[in-house]
Every structure is written in C-alpha cells, then in structure tokens.
C-alpha cells in the first residue's frame, strides 16, 4: 500500500530516507541522514566536495551497503529509477554507436545480430525527447560532452522511470550545453511528471531549476523549498569557507531567483 508522507515542504514524498549511515573503507561518509525527495518535483542535493552526495545517490540506487531505511513511496514498491552518471568513463575508441548503446539496455537480442525494431523506435523516441535524434548513428566516443550527457538522459528515459537521479550532470559540459540540458530536465519533469533528484554544487543551476533543495555535508544540514533554504547562512553552514568562492564562481547575487512557483519553468527562465 502506498504510504503518503507529508514533509515539511507540504508535498508528498517519493522517497523517504531515515537514519541513513554509510561507511566506506572504514570512514563514515554519511551519518544520521534524514531526508525526503518530493514526488513530481526537481530536488537538488547540494554540498561541498566530499559531502557524500554521490554516496547517498548510490545508496538510494542500492549499489552500496548502508544502514538505516530508504522507503520508496511510489505506486508499486521500489520504482523504476533512471540514473545519469557524472560522466561516462569509457574507452572512446570502442566502435559503439548511440543506437547500439541505447538498444543494448533494453533488448535481449544481441546487437551483433540486429537492433530490435521496437527498441530502435523507443530509442529514437527517447533521443527526440532530449533533442538528440541526429546523433543516433554516430559513434558514442565521438560525441561532445553535452551530447553524451543527453544520450545518457535518453538512456535513463528508456526505462520509463518514475524517478531520475542525475549526478552532477553538467560538470563536464560547457555553458551552452548546460543550458540545453537544464531546459530538457525541466521539460521532462513538467511534461512527464518524473521526480528528479539532481546532485550539484552549482548554486546558480540549483536556483534556476530546483524547487526543493537538500543541503548535505555528511548529514542533512537543511532541506525544504529552495527559496526558503538557500541563503547566506545555510550556504555558509553547508560549504564553510568555500562559500565565497562558490558564490563568486557561479555569479550568484545572494538573491534566490529560483523555480519557486509552479508556473516558473526553467525553460522560461533560460529563454528570458
């Protein structure tokens, strides 16, 4: 049965994390983490380097051992989760096309025989969602950083996920590529109702795209609506002495101009 949990933000949670602890190589990376990922929203997970953001993501994906509880409060138990890694570390000389890559995820028929017609169509649809249908025949290793991130987003969409986790998706992308990517994220969230959790330490991006924010530094320091949470004090608590550099680097003016109302879309903001 689906349990509805109302959070401090007033919405319904898709994932509820309770007392989560993760130890890696004898070091406690996360301790006493309590947080909620809001259903149908874009939530940003922010924090300095080494705060445990990716670790929390991996725990939620079930890829690392953890103590505590992660409840998925979606329609049928553990939902289908799409995952877009920070970057795809692979041998760029492998002769694998984008279509090979996308079909491999979903079809049992080995791609050395053929691409299944159904999967080919679905892959093209996913590529169209991320405005990358033109790269379907290109070799994966020949794509730019931005194109590759969009292909990874298309891969995540193939599973028809209820939730997508994005791990610093724009870290290896230029400014223009980041703009496109963020617009696509906003559109996917809005038009497909997919819950999105985005790991980032880019405050300017967070303020533009996320309605919810979780500040993490080994434990949750604050969480809630972006407009209420992101201020000088919370950022100082979260990022410490790095805060000045962070704000300077990302041209944050100290004011929150974020996606705070349902009407304000990232798409709209970027085209302003």
């Amino acid at each position: 049965m689906t349990e509805e949990i109302t959070t401090t933000s007033g919405g319904e949670a898709a994932i509820r994390i309770r007392n989560l602890e993760v130890e890696l190589g004898g070091t406690r990376v996360l301790t006493g983490v309590n947080a909620a990922i809001m259903k149908g929203e874009i939530t940003a997970l922010i924090g300095p380097n080494g705060a445990g953001k990716t670790t929390l993501l991996l725990a939620m994906l079930g890829l690392i051992h953890y103590k505590g509880k992660i409840d998925y409060l979606t329609s049928n138990g553990r939902p289908m989760i799409g995952y877009v890694p920070q970057y795809l570390d692979f041998d760029r000389g492998i002769p694998i096309t984008v279509m090979d890559f996308l079909c491999m995820w979903r079809q049992r028929l080995p791609v050395w025989i053929s691409h299944s017609r159904v999967q080919r169509r679905r892959a093209l649809e996913a590529l169209e969602w991320v405005e990358a249908a033109h790269v379907s025949g290109r070799v994966l290793g020949a794509l730019s950083g931005g194109e590759l991130q969009r292909v990874l987003l298309a891969m995540a969409l193939l599973d028809e996920p209820e939730i997508i986790f994005l791990d610093e998706p724009a870290s290896a992308v230029d400014r223009h590529g980041e703009e496109i990517f963020m617009r696509l994220i906003g559109r996917i969230n809005r038009e497909r109702g997919i819950t999105i959790l985005i790991v980032s330490h880019d405050i300017s991006m967070v303020t533009r795209i996320a309605r919810q924010v979780i500040c993490l530094n080994r434990q949750v320091l604050s969480e809630g609506k972006t407009a209420e949470i992101l201020n000088e004090n919370t950022l100082a608590a979260c990022f410490g002495p790095d805060k000045g550099l962070l704000l300077h680097d990302h041209h944050w003016d100290g004011e929150v101009h974020c996606a705070q109302s349902p009407d304000s879309s990232p798409e709209g903001r970027e085209t302003d």
Binding site: I81, P85, L88, D91, I94, P95, I96, T97, P110, W112
Partner: protein, 280 residues
C-alpha cells in the same frame, strides 16, 4: 567422422584438403578461430589481453603438473587455467591494486611454479614442446568434439549475455544501476575465456594464443563503425587467417601452422591499421 570427411571432400576438392590430418586441422581452426575472435571483441574493448596472457602462460604449469602427477595434462591444463582466471577475478574485487598488478602477480606465480615443476623432473621439457607451440595437425577427433561443445557454449553465452557484458565494459556502475548482475557475469566470462584459451593452446600454442584473441578483434575494431561490424569483421578475419595459415603451411615447407595463422592475421591487422589511419 566419416560423414564429415565425405562432406568436406565434396565441398573442398583441393589437394591440400585431401589428407585426414588437414581435414581435422581445418575443422579445429573453423571451430576455434571464430570463437576466439568473438570472445576477443570483449578482450580488446575491455583491455583484457594481459588477462588472457596470464591464463595461457598458466597452461605451462598446468601441463607440467599433469605430467608430474601422472594425470592427463589436457585435464590439468584446463583446471589450472580456470583457477588462475577465477583467482584473478576474486582478488581484483577485493584489492585496491590495479588489475594489471594483480594479473602480473598471478602470471609470475604460475610461470615460476611451472619452472620449479619442470626442473624437478627430467624429460618434461620435451612433453611441453607441443603445448608451447601447439600442433594443429595433431588434433584428435575427441578434441574436435570438445572444441565443438565449447563453441556451442560460447555462442550461447554471446547470444544471451553479449549486451549486458558489453554494457559492463562501457561503464560498470551504470550497468549495475540498470540491474545487470555485474559480478556473476564477469566471473562467467572469465571462466569461459580461460576455457577458450586452454582449448586454443592445442591448436596455436600457449605462446601465441593471446594473438588469436587479440589480433582479429583489433583488426575488426579498426575496420568497424558499430558493434555489429566489429563483431563480424573479427570473426571473418580470424577464420580467414586460420584457413589461409593452414593452406600456406601445407604448401610451404617448414611453415608451422600456428605461427603462419598468426602471421597472416597480423598482416591483415596492418592493412586495417593503414585503412583506419587514412580514414581518421
């Protein structure tokens, strides 16, 4: 086997195909070369050449141990090769050392053990000769049967698990997140690769077995622009090299089967490299 030989006589009305040893050699090459090429696609893309090298060199110890213990060396060869392969995989998952270092340790251990065993018993070097260089013309019908079984198992594996295995090679974490059982598949592949290597030693010799895996697949990679073309190009190059090497060694006095096969494969690789350089 008589029926198979009759069919071969009909299909191959050439002088080189007449002797029975050539028929058996051709069948062995046609079973082993495509399997090596197909498995080699993973070896090349996922930089596992050193892994297959370690297994092939462990065969030296496997054979020596078999002779020393009075057990059929073909049996100990396979068991020892598989153990080395699984051992590397097990330590790799539990160590912070690089894979190359772990393989290097296993390679050193197995070769050192082989040297100790060989030096412990006089006359062993003579028996090892056939395994060092292989002898494609001495393959027996029972060995052909085992090669056929291995080829069928590998083909089934590559039909069922190719996509998942390839995705693991592209990015392990993403494959895990997608629900692929990464560890189980890696072990299964390592075991199968160990078996392929040990069976191929009979044909090509342990000194050249890695070449049989790597060279056709590397040629395929140079020629290809997609996974499918790489896969089939590798199989074509492997099979062509095998047949051409056999025929050449039949007509050219002193040309050893295994060595000739690899030389022709290397020639094809060089042509493909030239093509890739011009294309890029």
């Amino acid at each position: 086997m008589e029926h198979v030989y009759s069919v071969m006589d009909l299909l191959l009305p050439f002088a080189w195909a007449e002797p029975f040893f050539m028929k058996r050699a051709l069948l062995a090459v046609l079973l082993v070369a495509p399997v090596c090429a197909a498995m080699g696609v993973m070896v090349v893309n996922f930089r596992m050449a050193f892994f297959s090298d370690a297994i092939s060199h462990s065969a030296f110890t496997g054979v020596a141990l078999g002779i020393l213990l009075g057990v059929d060396p073909r049996f100990t060869l396979i068991i020892f090769g598989a153990l080395v392969g699984l051992g590397i995989m097990a330590i790799r998952g539990r160590s912070s050392l690089s894979v190359d270092t772990i393989i290097g340790v296993f390679l050193s251990f197995s070769v050192a053990l082989g040297i100790v065993v060989v030096s412990a018993k006089k006359g062993l070097t003579r028996d090892l000769h056939a395994y060092l260089f292989g002898d494609v013309f001495a393959v027996s019908p029972s060995e052909l049967g085992l090669m056929l079984i291995l080829a069928v198992v590998c083909a089934a594996f590559l039909v069922v698990f190719f996509n998942d295995l390839f995705l693991i090679g592209v990015n392990e974490r993403v494959a895990k997140a997608h629900g692929v059982n990464v560890k189980a598949l890696q072990y299964f592949y390592a075991l199968l690769l160990a078996l392929v290597v040990t069976f191929t030693i009979r044909v090509i010799g342990l000194l050249l077995v890695t070449a049989m895996l790597v060279v056709p697949a590397a040629t395929g990679r140079n020629l290809a622009r997609s996974v499918r073309t790489m896969f089939w190009s590798a199989i074509l190059v492997g099979s062509l090299s095998g047949i051409a090497g056999l025929v050449t060694s039949f007509y050219v006095k002193g040309a050893v089967g295994g060595g000739t096969i690899i030389l022709i494969a290397c020639l094809l690789f060089m042509i493909s490299q030239l093509y890739a350089t011009v294309r890029n």
